[in-house]
C-alpha cells in the first residue's frame, strides 16, 4: 500500500493512546497556517483558510471556504509533504471518493445518504518554507466522542444500531472499491452539518485505508498492530487488511457504545499490543461466552448475531452486508425506533441497554435526587416510558446478580420499598393514594405495597424521618408516582430516584420498561409490586421481594390470566463498577430495574 517507509515503521504506535507523545516525533507537525491564507489547489481553485477547528493525529484541520464565499463549509487538512497518512488518505479519496461514484452507489442501493465523505480539492502549498500537502473536504459536524462523554461512555441503544447500519453502508461502499477502512472509532465518525445532517453519520479518516487481501493470508510484520489499539482487529494485529477485520472493528465499537468495557481495556493491556492481540483472540474464539460476560444482563441480539457472524468469516470472504444490516434493523423495529430522522444522542435511562457496568445518567440521577430532597416525599415525575421488546434472558441476569452481589462489601442499612405497579392499557379508574402526574386514561398503575420491607440491621437510617408527609402511609415511605404506571415508595433513609425521562407514549399490549434508581444501601430490601389491570378492578398483583444482599434479582411470577400476557419483573441492582471502592460512582446508587414482559 502507498505507505511510505517511515510511516510504516511508525504505524503500530501511531494511534495508541499511550503513545501520543511518541507520535509527534514520528511525524512532523505542520506549521501553523494563519487565518485568511489562501491555498490554491491543483485545479487552481482557491480556498481561504478559516479558524483551526481541530488537530488530528498528525496535522491541523482548518475550516475553509472558497474564496469569495463566507460560510466556511469546507475543511482543509494540512500536513507536511513527507507525512504518509494524508498522502494515503488523499489517494483513497481521489480514487474512491468521487462525488459521482458515491451518488451512483447510493442510487444502486437505494440509499438516501451515505456516510462517505468526498474530496473537493487537493494540492500542495508552501507554509513557512516547508512544503505541505492539503486536501479540501466538506465540513461535518461534531464527532461521536462528545456524545459518548456526555452519556458516560455509552450511546442510546437505538442510535448504536442505526450507526451500525450506516457504517455497514460505508463499509460496503469502500469494500466494493477494494479498500478497507481499518480505523473505525467514535472519533472518526462525524455527524453531518447541513440541515438534516444529524441523521447521517460520516466515517472519516482514511489514513489507514488500504486494499484488502484477496489471496493468501500472509501476516506482515511491518504492519502489525496497525490501527487504534482498543478496536483494531485480530487480522490487523497480524498486519493483514481484510474485510472481516473492518466488521470486527465495528463490532468492538458497538460493544463499547452499548456501555460495556472491552476486556483488554479493563485489563489495561493497551500498552502492549501483543497482549491485546491475545486477549482479542481469546475473546473472539469463544464469542458467545465472551459477550455473555460483557453483557451480564443479556447480550443484545443483533450484537450477538453480528459478532458470531464476524467470527465465522474467512479472511477473503465478502461479508453479507444485507444480513448484518437486517439484524440491526430488526432490533430497531423491536425498539420501535425509526431508522430515519436525526440520530438521537440523548441517553434515556432504559433498561434494555444490557449492561450494568455503568449506571445510566448519573448526573441526571443526582439532580433528580436533589430535587427529591426538596419536595420530598412526593415526587411527581412524568415518566417517559421506554417501550422495548428486549429479549434478555433471565437466567443470565440472575447469574450476573449473583456475581455482583458476591462482591458486595458493606451492608449499610437502608431499606427501600418499591412498588411499581403497572397496568397495561384498558381505562381504569385512577387509584386512590396516589398523585397522578398524567391523568390519562391509558395505562396507569397503582401502588399496592404487598409486602412490607424487612429492615435488615437498619438502626442508622430508618429512624430518620426525612419525609414527614409520608408518615401517614403504613410505612414512612417516600412515595413517588409517575405515569403511566410506576409508583415508588422509599423508606426515609433511602432515597429513591426515578429517572424521569423515560418516555414514549404508552401503548396497550406492549412491553414497558421502567428504569429507576434507588439510593439505597448495598443490602436494601427491594420490593416490587406489579399490578396489571386487564379489566377494571381485576387486578393482578405480583409481589417481588428481593431480600438482599445475596439475591438481587427477583422474578415475579404473576398469577396468570388466560389469554393475557404474562407479567414478569426483573429486579436488578446496578452497581457503579461492581467495585464499591471506586470513589467516582456512588456505591449507593444502585439501579433497580423493573421489567414487565409480555409473554
Amino acid at each position: 500500500m502507498p505507505r511510505v517507509a517511515k510511516p510504516k515503521a511508525a504505524a503500530p504506535a501511531k494511534k495508541v493512546v499511550s503513545a501520543k507523545k511518541a507520535k509527534s516525533k514520528l511525524y512532523k507537525m505542520p506549521e501553523k497556517v494563519k487565518e485568511g491564507t489562501v491555498f490554491t489547489d491543483l485545479a487552481k481553485g482557491q480556498w481561504r483558510i478559516g479558524p483551526s477547528i481541530g488537530v488530528g493525529g498528525f496535522g491541523e484541520i482548518y475550516a475553509a471556504c472558497k474564496v469569495g464565499e463566507k460560510n466556511y463549509d469546507a475543511v482543509v487538512k494540512c500536513e507536511p509533504h513527507g507525512n504518509g497518512p494524508l498522502f494515503v488518505e488523499m489517494h483513497f479519496y481521489l480514487r474512491n471518493a468521487k462525488l459521482e461514484d458515491i451518488k451512483q452507489f447510493m442510487q444502486k442501493h437505494g440509499l438516501k445518504s451515505l456516510g462517505m465523505p468526498y474530496i473537493l480539492a487537493n494540492g500542495s502549498v508552501e507554509v513557512n518554507g516547508e512544503k505541505h500537502r492539503f486536501i479540501v473536504m466538506p465540513r461535518y459536524g461534531s464527532d461521536l466522542t462528545k456524545f459518548l462523554e456526555q452519556n458516560g461512555k455509552r450511546l442510546p441503544e437505538g442510535t448504536v444500531y442505526r450507526l451500525a447500519i450506516q457504517m455497514l453502508d460505508v463499509y460496503q461502499y469502500m469494500h466494493s472499491n477494494g479498500y478497507v477502512h481499518a480505523d473505525l472509532k467514535a472519533a472518526n465518525i462525524l455527524l453531518g452539518l447541513e440541515k438534516g445532517g444529524a441523521a447521517q453519520a460520516y466515517l472519516v479518516d482514511f489514513g489507514l485505508a488500504s486494499h484488502f487481501v484477496t489471496g493468501d493470508f500472509k501476516p506482515d510484520p511491518k504492519k502489525m498492530h496497525n490501527g487504534t489499539i482498543e478496536y483494531t482487529s485480530r487480522d490487523a494485529h497480524l498486519g493483514v487488511p481484510t474485510r472481516r477485520a473492518d466488521l470486527e472493528i465495528l463490532g468492538y465499537n458497538l460493544i463499547e457504545w452499548l456501555g460495556a468495557e472491552l476486556p483488554w481495556v479493563t485489563q489495561k493491556l493497551l500498552a502492549v499490543p501483543p497482549k491485546v492481540q491475545k486477549a482479542k483472540e481469546a475473546f473472539m474464539d469463544n464469542i458467545g461466552e465472551s459477550l455473555k460476560t460483557l453483557f451480564p444482563k443479556g447480550v443484545p441480539p443483533p450484537i450477538g448475531d453480528f459478532m458470531k457472524y464476524v467470527s465465522k468469516l474467512t479472511h477473503n470472504q465478502e461479508p453479507d452486508y444485507d444480513k448484518c444490516r437486517s439484524w440491526f434493523s430488526s432490533a430497531l423495529k423491536q425498539l420501535k425506533i425509526p431508522n430515519n430522522g436525526d440520530l438521537d444522542f440523548k441517553m434515556k435511562p432504559q433498561t434494555s441497554s444490557n449492561n450494568n457496568l455503568s449506571p445510566p445518567g448519573t448526573s441526571k440521577a443526582a439532580t433528580a435526587r436533589k430535587a427529591k430532597k426538596i419536595d420530598s416525599p412526593v415526587l411527581n415525575s412524568s415518566l417517559d416510558e421506554k417501550i422495548s421488546a428486549s429479549e434478555d434472558d433471565e437466567e443470565e441476569e440472575e447469574k450476573s446478580h449473583r456475581k455482583k452481589t458476591a462482591k458486595k462489601v458493606t451492608p449499610s442499612a437502608r431499606n427501600a420499598k418499591v412498588s411499581p405497579l403497572k397496568r397495561v392499557a384498558d381505562s381504569s379508574p385512577p387509584s386512590q393514594k396516589r398523585v397522578k402526574t398524567e391523568p390519562k386514561s391509558t395505562p396507569r398503575e397503582r401502588a399496592t405495597p404487598k409486602a412490607s420491607p424487612k429492615p435488615r440491621s437498619t438502626p442508622k437510617a430508618s429512624p430518620k424521618p426525612q419525609t414527614p408527609t409520608a408518615a401517614r402511609l403504613r410505612t414512612p415511605n417516600a412515595k413517588i408516582n409517575f405515569s403511566p404506571s410506576i409508583s415508588l415508595r422509599g423508606r426515609p433513609g433511602g432515597k429513591t430516584v426515578i429517572n424521569d425521562d423515560l418516555t414514549p407514549q404508552p401503548r396497550s399490549k406492549k412491553t414497558y420498561e421502567f428504569n429507576f434508581e434507588l439510593d439505597v444501601s448495598m443490602d436494601a430490601n427491594v420490593i416490587v409490586n406489579v399490578k396489571r389491570k386487564k379489566k377494571a378492578d381485576q387486578d393482578k398483583a405480583t409481589a417481588v421481594d428481593s431480600r438482599t444482599p445475596s439475591s438481587r434479582s427477583a422474578l415475579a411470577s404473576s398469577s396468570k390470566e388466560e389469554a393475557s400476557p404474562v407479567t414478569r419483573v426483573n429486579l436488578r441492582k446496578v452497581n457503579g463498577h461492581g467495585d464499591s471502592s471506586t470513589p467516582g460512582r456512588s456505591p449507593r446508587t444502585p439501579a433497580v430495574t423493573v421489567r414487565k414482559y409480555q409473554g
Binding site: L42, A43, N122, G123, S124, R133
Partner: protein, 90 residues
C-alpha cells in the same frame, strides 16, 4: 510562466492510472500517434522515460524532440506536466 492549461491541471490533479499519452499536456493527436508508434502508448510509459532520464529537463526535452519531433513548447509543457505530477504524487 503564464499559468497552466486546463489539460495540465486535469492531469496533475489525480493519479494517472491508465491514462493515454494524449492526456499529457503538450501532447495531442499527432504527437500521441508518434509516441504510440514508438511504443509509448500510456502516460505512465512516458513517465517512465522521464524518470529514467532522472527528471532532467534538458535530457527529457531532447528525448521528446527526438522521438516524436515535438516543438520546444510541446516538450516543455509535457515536462512541466510530469514534473508537477511527480511533485504531487511521487
Amino acid at each position: 510562466m503564464s499559468g497552466t492549461s486546463q489539460k495540465h491541471r486535469n492531469f496533475v490533479a489525480e493519479p494517472m492510472g491508465n491514462k493515454s499519452v494524449t492526456e499529457l499536456a503538450g501532447i495531442g493527436e499527432t504527437l500521441g500517434g508518434r509516441l504510440k508508434d514508438a511504443g509509448f502508448d500510456m502516460a505512465y510509459t512516458v513517465l517512465g522515460q522521464y524518470l529514467v532520464l532522472k527528471k532532467d529537463e534538458e535530457l527529457f526535452k531532447d528525448w521528446m524532440k527526438e522521438v516524436c519531433h515535438a516543438s520546444s513548447k510541446q516538450a516543455s509543457d509535457c515536462y512541466n506536466c510530469l514534473n508537477d505530477w511527480c511533485e504531487e504524487f511521487l
